[in-house]
């Protein structure tokens, strides 16, 4: 489970509780300028995650840590797929964060409100 908040010009993702043990890093701070959007996406849990770098994976129970897939590094921390959200980043160590939050819809709306989408 993760908690997402916005402080000033930053998006802050805190990985809570026991998951700290699994995902190695418990707090990520990303400038909002590098946040490209957020989406509730339960289906992503069924996707191949690629090669795991340090972190851990207990099959069928917890997916946590950072994974490399198609040249991208993706941070995962999901137990309950129904609460999975995807936060897309740009110019960051991670291409995207796939995390579990208590209130996917509210969290996604909050992030999307803070992000300007361009129509090019």
């Amino acid at each position: 489970m993760a908690h997402v908040s916005i402080a000033g010009d930053d998006l802050i993702v805190e990985v809570e509780g026991l998951d700290k043990l699994w995902a190695l890093k418990s707090r990520l701070t990303v400038p909002l300028a590098n946040v490209r959007g957020a989406t509730a996406d339960p289906g992503i849990v069924r996707e191949p995650k690629g090669v795991r770098s340090p972190g851990t994976h207990v099959p069928g129970v917890i997916v946590a840590g950072s994974f490399y897939t198609e040249g991208e590094r993706v941070f995962w921390d999901v137990r309950d797929r129904d609460k999975a959200i995807v936060i897309e980043l740009g110019d960051e160590k991670y291409a995207r964060l796939v995390i579990e939050v208590d209130d996917p819809k509210e969290t996604v709306d909050m992030i999307e409100k803070a992000v300007q989408h361009r129509h090019s």
């Binding site: 959007g37 509730a40 996406d41 289906g43 991208e72 291409a95 989408h117």
Partner: protein, 155 residues
């Protein structure tokens, strides 16, 4: 983008999952996120293009109509292609200012073409009635709105 617009037009924004988009668009999830940032990012792009293409084409046709009855008839004829706009006005515009900006832009295009808000309202009201009675089939998947000429008027 056209395939995404069709999904949103048929199933609404909330009714279209990322699984639906990935399956119908035939793209990797990663590239969908990389390109659009989020489902909402993709939706807003699709809506923007819908207004630029379908609504603008309809507005051009309506502007060339000979009388009000023909103008209303053109809007009704375009109905099956306007599912995305209708869903956006009802579902997204009240909760998403970026979507509201697009639907407002669409209405302004139609108002400029009809020359009167009242006439736009009459035409859209007639469309809504048809949808409400099930007499307006929605555009089916495969009938891409992007490749269909929306210029039924011959001048």
């Amino acid at each position: 983008m056209g395939a995404a617009a069709e999904l949103f037009a048929l199933h609404s924004y909330d009714g279209t999952s990322v699984d639906d988009l990935v399956n119908h668009l035939g793209v990797h999830r990663g590239s969908l996120y990389k390109t659009f940032g989020s489902k909402r990012g993709l939706y807003l792009r699709a809506l923007h293009r819908h207004v630029d293409d379908d609504v603008a084409a309809l507005a051009r046709a309506v502007a060339g109509a000979e009388d009000q009855a023909q103008a209303v008839g053109l809007v009704l004829a375009a109905g099956p292609r306007l599912g995305l706009l209708f869903h956006a006005m009802v579902e997204r515009a009240p909760v998403d200012p970026a979507a509201a900006a697009e639907t407002t832009r669409a209405l302004a295009l139609l108002d400029a073409a009809t020359g009167a808000e009242g006439l736009t309202a009459l035409a859209l009201g007639q469309l809504l009635r048809r949808r409400g009675t099930g007499a307006m089939p929605q555009q089916r998947e495969g009938e891409s709105s992007w490749h269909t000429s929306a210029s039924p008027v011959t001048t």
